[in-house]
Symmetry: C2
Subunit: 339 residues, 2 copies
């Protein structure tokens, strides 16, 4: 299964960089005010801009409609960060456009008509922005965007008005999680118009210590300013995570090593694994690899498992509908197999 | 390292059978009233009866004095069930006589002058009693025992007067432990003059579900009666353990399997293991093997580890004095190595 993590080179603290541009079509109401016919017109219109041949080597793209997909297929796309939950809550009126390796996803009729998303493994915000801008130019060449000379791009939610840019970086922060430092970082980030949140699990907690740092404000800032301040902030968090790992290693080296190895032991032998436990253990193993403590597990395997063990993506790997216990068994089997 | 468990054939619920005969020498005060000189005379006298050549193929025997042994060496002998703690609390006045494979241990100047102990793997109370009687006859051929025609053999503690026989069976009862049934069994046994107690750990709890069932009363019963009633009681407990395992398997088969496999995973990967945790996990693995759930671990390996992981025996496997954490690391390393 293709997923972002499979593209990762090695096992860094920074997992992926993501750029999302919010765009709307001129003189058409925002999606929540549209009926199905009108929504479908927009889907066709946007997809039309990318289905031609003259795309400067970008593409090919294909359209994904949700009415043909099972619930597991839809939610697996959320788990793989291709689309938002909001997009499928409005499944009859929405769609997404994907490229072949699924690092581009252009959501249509989410909160805005167009949410163009580009993801790249590692710390590549500028590269992702360049790629997103190329795609944006192609679409803008054929569609008039809602744009105000003073405000910039107009969006459904005021926080996106301006550049319409949300830049984010996905980070693996196990040592900062263990030392309970993420709350402090959150407070600091809020003061500079940025945010950090757990990717898996509810609210601020993160089941496998994977967090997303992103800008909150787009109005009054240029794209370059947004990207540069995010790069500065993320670089600082990476340094903090490295320092926290070193402290952890110095203060509780043996306990840490024991903990990380036990995580492999359980992953390799358990017959039932909840999503919560599996993610926590995989996070431990990932940190162990990063820190040079664990040497006999390949980081790519762990990275792939982080996606494969999630409920909907897991369901897709079975040919029958699974109960909770059934999922826990299949999850354990897949983990054992992979490790 | 030789230990009882290495002789075990397979992995039954019944681990070992043990016979212990308490004897005292006529007209000499019980050990607690003797000074060092007199104690040493007794040691020499008893060892003298077994150091000759004419022992009907039994032997050879060697004498172990405790003043030459380190604390770890002494306590390792306790952990291997060769001697009692009481014997080494009186180390300057006591000794034991061992045969080569250490299934015979004749403690001298414990509570009684002589405590002759024979252990055999499996359910072999009668065989062990026959062997003990042979040895007893050899000693009695050269030493006059304190014996009363009405009461039988006289012993320091009234509960041993009569045959001086304590027969015991060591059992692995994980399912009865899990279902908290040992307390009920204890009450029943007390009513018929028998007792059950945990071998490792304090009081009634047992760290690796290994228990010893033995007779409490010797007066007024023949050796045969004691052995037969113990055989009957133990057979019943074995049936109860089997039934409890079946219930466990039927009611929580998947959880049980998960639990047992996780135990192997942790044993194989942990970098630190306390004695308590190691024994619990080894007990799980042993049950898993018995129940046919775990197939890739040899029972003999588990049985040996149950002794090897204990604190004093563990210390003997290192050339330097170990701290608590050092023992936990060595224990984990030995377990990993063995599995």
């Amino acid at each position: 299964m293709t997923n972002l993590y499979s593209n990762m080179n090695g096992s860094d603290i920074i997992i992926t960089s993501r750029i999302r541009l919010a765009r709307n079509i001129k003189d058409i109401p925002f999606p929540h005010e549209l009926d199905e016919n009108k929504s479908n017109e927009i889907i066709d219109k946007v997809y039309g801009t990318l289905s031609g041949d003259n795309l400067q080597g970008i593409g090919p793209f294909h359209l994904v409609r949700f009415n043909n997909l099972s619930s597991a297929e839809r939610f697996s796309m959320v788990e793989r960060h291709l689309i938002s939950k909001e997009l499928i809550s409005n499944a009859s009126k929405s769609a997404t456009i994907l490229n072949e390796n699924e690092n581009v996803s252009i959501m249509i009729n989410e909160e805005d008509h167009i949410r163009l998303q580009v993801m790249m493994p590692g710390f590549k915000l500028k590269e992702a922005l360049n790629y997103a801008n190329e795609l944006d130019d192609i679409i803008e060449g054929k569609i008039d965007y809602a744009f105000d000379n003073k405000l910039g791009y107009l969006t459904s939610c005021p926080t996106n008005v301006g550049t319409g840019l949300r830049a984010s970086v996905m980070l693996h922060l196990p040592a900062l999680s263990i030392s309970k430092s993420v709350g402090g970082i959150r407070n600091t980030l809020n003061q500079v118009g940025m945010t950090i949140r757990g990717i898996y699990g509810e609210g601020s907690s993160s089941e496998c210590s994977i967090y997303q740092v992103s800008n909150q404000v787009t109005l009054g800032l240029s794209e370059g300013e947004i990207i540069n301040s995010l790069i500065a902030v993320v670089s600082k968090i990476v340094d903090q995570e490295k320092a926290a790992r070193q402290v952890l290693n110095e203060k509780q080296g043996k306990e840490l090593e024991d903990d990380l190895y036990r995580s492999i032991g359980i992953l390799k032998y358990a017959r039932m694994l909840s999503s919560h436990e599996a993610l926590n253990l995989l996070s431990n193993v990932r940190m162990g690899i990063d820190m040079g403590i664990i040497k006999d597990v390949k980081p790519e395997v762990v990275n792939e498992l982080i996606v494969k063990v999630q409920p909907a993506t897991l369901q897709l790997q079975s040919d029958k509908e699974l109960s909770g216990a059934g999922r826990d068994e299949l999850r354990a089997a897949i983990v054992r197999e992979a490790l």
